[in-house]
Amino acid sequence: MKDRVGKLKAVTGRTEFSVFLGLLLLTVAMSIASPFFLKTSNIFNVLSQISRYGIISVGMALVIITGGIDLSVGYVVGLCACVAAWLTSQAHLPWPAVLLLVLLLGTVIGTVNGLLVTKMKLVPFIVTLATGKILSGCTLLLTKGMPISFESSLAWLGSGYIGPIPVCVIIMFLVIIGGSVFAQCTLTGRNIYAVGNNERTAELSGIKVKKLKCSVYIITSLLSALCGIIVAGNLYSSDASLGIGYETDIIAAVVIGGVSMSGGEGTVWGSLIGAAIMGILKNAFVLLNISSYWQSVVIGIVIIVAVALDVLRVNKKEK
């Protein structure tokens, strides 16, 4: 009995739990406030909006758990979306080749980020800020500021449906499940937490820290590349504005979801809850006809509350 209470406490004491309660509360409030909120079409609209952030947040959560950060994600999305469109419409490559090349591009970008952070010991904040700048310039060089329209079966990833469910939503759930299993149930995944908690100790205990840190940047860029294809596919058109500003929303989602910015703590699926809260808030302001001036204010407050809860919890634990 005592054991069970202890377990229950362990669950309710987690940040994810309070955030999940918040999400539940928000959902109930919204379904009372707007008769349209629980309509299937609206739910899938919100989910497909969340999917853009949700997919990348898996990688971002891993990066932040190691104590790093990746500010280049939005620009990876933009570049990969435009490269996918260009390869399809200008180079006339078949879709499997385009998919492969774009994912490869994502991997290369992630490797560069990872190597600069691990081999050269540069601060991730600066490295990814800089690579982001470079990528944004490359996107403009490629597109010359013009949107690139394309027709491809690849667009199915962004605009297709299986039954009533958008394909991108299914991809998001697969990525979240895969990421959670990887982080919680594999040795490599658990080592990521060890690195975030104390890099020195992790290294001494034989964990290949550099390789591990490098790999989380690769995962993040790879997922951003996938997201780029999805965003491009949704509109059958790419331009350099795609992906801009994603990093802030994704980092916010990850933090709201209970990942500690100082590393070592949090879960991958928590970021999905974080992304969902932000997605529902954005949806709510339009459905309820509330001025969108308030949107930024409210999202900012939510982030502060989420981080404050996290700090309170950590302080309590330390006592």
Partner: protein, 370 residues
């Protein structure tokens, strides 16, 4: 040792990347274009990181535009015996600017003719960065251009404009004007607030002057977007009491965000009559309306005439778009500056607003043939 060397090289590559893409850490310099190649005094550019010069004008556009230019102002014959050089500063970051550039290139090709004897250098700045524009204007002053035309990106360029004017170089501002007053001769561009009114009138006519409308605006922080948005809102509030604005969202010029927001608007307001998009990304809104199959109920009105917008007007999903004559915005200031150099008099001062046509499914094929 080897490792250290590698580190240095990597750092150098990174730093170079930062400078190349960053916001104007190097003074902008214009490369001489093909037309000025014979002038041996032109120094080649050493610092063209942020700026590049387009050189294709003479061979691509000369054939069609030199014979029959459709300029809003008539270029006077150059009887001064002098050769003039005009610098035209612009950006190239979205399709709108392609049409502006066509205007600049048409003026460039036309004025290169013997009767006009004027060289126009097209200088492309890669970002809406006031600092880079200011530095580029400074460089143009040093290089002794006779006149300068520039986008009025931000107040950061006001000192440079005033410096040029003091040096006897007339400056014409186009597309958007600086908020702070400068010594520029004239502004050529859309009357943005009035354009908002035109869009509102167009939407009102489409929906029988009653119903619910949603507004998707680019960025609250961009003055041009705000002027259009206020133009729309004020017109609706003053002239159309039966039209209700159900909400305003910010799409950051992104088609993807416009897509989601349009779906949200229609979900939250099943009886929605119209959506107005003030800036970038209206084709995302059009895609959402097309996907939901509500084009008969929800009318879409936006601004500008990019390829995406025109194709949705042809499909009848975008029901009206207010054009701002991008070609004229590129060409007019150059012609006006040239005429001033020739006659010594200013043809216009203050605001020279460009014409506003409303492109609809009815007239789109005439104005934009395949």
């Amino acid at each position: 040792m080897k490792k250290r060397l590698l580190n240095v090289i990597l750092a150098a590559v990174l730093a170079f990347g930062l400078v190349g893409c960053g916001s104007g850490s190097s003074p902008a310099a214009a490369e001489p274009s093909k037309d000025t190649a014979e002038e041996s005094t032109e120094e080649p550019s050493e610092e063209a990181a942020d700026v590049s010069t387009q050189e294709e004008a003479a061979d691509t556009d000369a054939g069609e535009t030199a014979d029959a230019p459709k300029f809003n102002y008539e270029p006077k014959k150059n009887d001064t015996g002098n050769e003039f050089r005009i610098a035209a500063l612009t950006v190239q970051n979205n399709p709108f600017w392609v049409d502006v550039t066509k205007g600049i290139e048409a003026a460039q090709a036309f004025l290169a003719g013997g009767d006009y004897n004027t060289t126009v250098d097209l200088i492309t700045v890669d970002d809406f960065d006031g600092q880079v524009f200011a530095e580029t204007i400074d460089t143009c002053i040093v290089k002794g251009y006779d006149a300068i035309t520039t986008v009025g990106v931000s107040d950061a360029i006001v000192p440079a404009i005033n410096k040029a004017t003091q040096a006897g170089i007339p400056v014409y501002v186009f597309n958007s004007d600086t908020e702070k007053e400068s010594d520029r001769v004239a502004f050529v561009g859309q009357d943005l607030y009035a354009a908002g009114g035109v869009a509102a009138d167009t939407a009102a006519a489409l929906i029988g002057e009653k119903g619910k409308v949603g507004i998707i605006t680019g960025l609250y922080s961009v003055n041009a977007h705000e002027l259009r948005r206020h133009g729309i809102e004020d017109t609706i509030n003053e002239k159309y009491p039966d039209i209700e604005i159900v909400g305003t969202t910010e799409n950051h010029d992104s088609a993807d965000e416009a897509y989601t927001q349009t779906k949200d608007f229609i979900t939250g307001n099943p009886d929605l009559s119209a959506i107005l998009v003030t800036a970038g990304g209206p084709h995302g809104a059009a895609k959402a309306i097309e996907e939901l199959g509500v084009q008969d109920q929800v009318k879409l009105v936006c601004f500008d005439t990019t390829t995406e917008i025109v194709s949705y007007v042809k499909k009848g999903i975008i029901n009206g778009t207010v054009s701002q004559d991008p070609f004229g915005q590129g060409a007019d200031p150059i012609i006006l500056a040239y005429n001033q150099l020739v006659t010594g008099e200013t043809e216009v001062t203050g605001n020279a607003f460009t014409k506003m046509d409303v492109i609809t499914p009815d007239n789109v094929n005439e104005l934009f043939p395949e």
